[in-house]
């Protein structure tokens, strides 16, 4: 199983029926592959849809119906489309149950940096700052390291996305929960030893006596 698939299958277990969820572009988008059609989870996309569906059959795309990355999507029965002010009212106003976002760095305070590498990569924050500030649960879905360097660090060196603490970090090695007492190692990926996770993490981790293997969504 690829690192991305481990992350996506584990994140899928965090999403529950009857909730409204925003998946960021890239790795988080792929979480929807592991959510069954009858799950009762509604996906929101910040370009203005509640009830986004999977990509349409080839040749049946509607040029007026895309996700926030501009890729064609469909709409589920009961979907609603909204303008940008209402879309972000849903995000900021506490109406969004969860957001799943990629990350460049997360630190011991649970702060996320995911929108800019000054002078090198300036994509902009798009909706990320609103999502991290406003969603009820913020799940960071990212690889544990980038080119061998830890992404879970003592203090973010990159500009923060929000000063609000994220809810959960899911990587290809571990599930980590930021709390006011630091980062707790909650689960390890199948076959991964605690020492391996500690070695790949420059932040200090709090390690309970029992750290189970993560369960993965079918």
């Amino acid at each position: 199983m690829s690192p991305e698939e481990i992350i996506q299958r584990r994140v899928a277990r965090e999403l529950h029926a009857g909730t409204l969820v925003n998946l960021g572009i890239g790795l988080p988008t792929g979480v929807s592959r592991y959510i069954p059609h009858n799950s009762g989870i509604l996906f929101q996309s910040e370009n203005g849809i509640v009830g986004m569906g999977s990509p349409p059959p080839e040749g049946m795309e509607d040029i007026d119906l895309t996700d926030a990355g501009g890729s064609f999507v469909s709409a589920v029965p009961g979907a609603a489309t909204v303008d940008s002010t209402l879309s972000f009212g849903l995000v900021r106003g506490g109406h969004l149950d969860a957001t799943v976002l990629g990350g460049l760095e997360v630190d011991e305070d649970g702060h996320l940096a995911n929108w800019v590498v000054p002078g090198r990569m300036v994509p902009g924050m798009g909706g990320a700052m609103d999502l991290v500030s406003g969603a009820r649960r913020v799940i960071v879905a990212m690889q544990h390291t980038a080119r061998g360097r830890p992404k879970i660090v003592p203090k973010c060196t990159l500009p923060l996305t929000s000063t609000r603490r994220v809810t959960l970090i899911v990587t290809d090695l571990a599930v980590i929960e930021p709390t006011d007492k630091g980062l707790f190692l909650r689960e390890r990926a199948p076959g991964v030893e605690i020492a391996e996770i500690v070695a790949a993490t420059s932040a200090s981790l709090r390690i309970p006596d029992y750290v189970p293997e993560m369960g993965l969504h079918d």
Binding site: G70, A75, P123, G126, M129, G134, L160, S162
Partner: protein, 218 residues
């Protein structure tokens, strides 16, 4: 009856140095015919207020490629490396604004409000140089209103009186920008006689629209 103009006539109304709001999200729901006419006329020194700059040489990305834009107030340029390059080398002054804050700043401009207070961006570099206002012991970030000389918007349908409808995720910033432009030019996909659009289906009232781009008059 609203005045109908060709894309060329619309572009001729817009002088070098104008401040433009342009609807669309990654080019979905953008007024592409007006953009093409601005490029053909070689307009310069434009300030663009928009969600993003689409992709290289597509939608607003055409204005970037031809050097028409010297300032951009946008939330995301991640999918247009030419805008990122312009930001890094200083040829385009890019103000990156969180997407929800951008929508609300435009709304404030168009709705006669003095700005908005938000949590989004508080404590991040997006708040640098901005005012933090404490109300009853709680910090809020102040974001000032935005207005434009022209709002260039896309619509699905217009009637002769300028009433507009939108479709699916092509709605995005178009309705709120129609409130905040000194002159509003709408580029509908179809134009119908008055009465075809039921009052409950009108999203933007014709009282806000100054010009309609004529069908097929390019």
């Amino acid at each position: 009856m609203k005045k109908g103009v060709t894309p060329q006539q619309a572009a001729e109304m817009i002088p070098d140095g104008a401040i433009l709001m342009i609807g669309g999200f990654m080019g979905v729901g953008s007024p592409h015919r007006i953009i093409d006419a601005l490029v053909d006329l070689g307009r310069k020194n434009l300030t663009i207020i928009a969600n993003d700059t689409a992709r290289p040489n597509y939608g607003i990305g055409k204005l970037i490629r031809t050097g028409a834009v010297t300032r951009a107030i946008v939330s995301h340029i991640g999918l247009n490396p030419e805008t990122q390059k312009g930001m890094i080398d200083g040829s385009i002054a890019v103000d990156l604004v969180p997407q929800g804050t951008l929508a609300e700043r435009i709304r404030a401009g168009g709705f006669g409000l003095g700005g908005i207070l938000t949590k989004t961006g508080l404590g991040t570099i997006a708040a640098e140089g901005q005012r933090v206002i404490e109300i009853d012991g709680e910090d809020w970030l102040y974001a000032p209103p935005l207005k434009a000389d022209f709002a260039l918007i896309h619509a699905d349908r217009a009637d002769y009186s300028g009433n507009l409808t939108y479709q699916l995720t092509a709605t995005n910033f178009n309705p709120v920008m129609a409130m905040a432009g000194e002159t509003v030019i709408a580029e509908p996909r179809e134009i119908s006689p008055v009465g075809v659009i039921p009052p409950d289906h009108v999203s933007t009232s014709g009282v806000l629209v100054d010009y309609i781009i004529l069908r097929g008059a390019a």
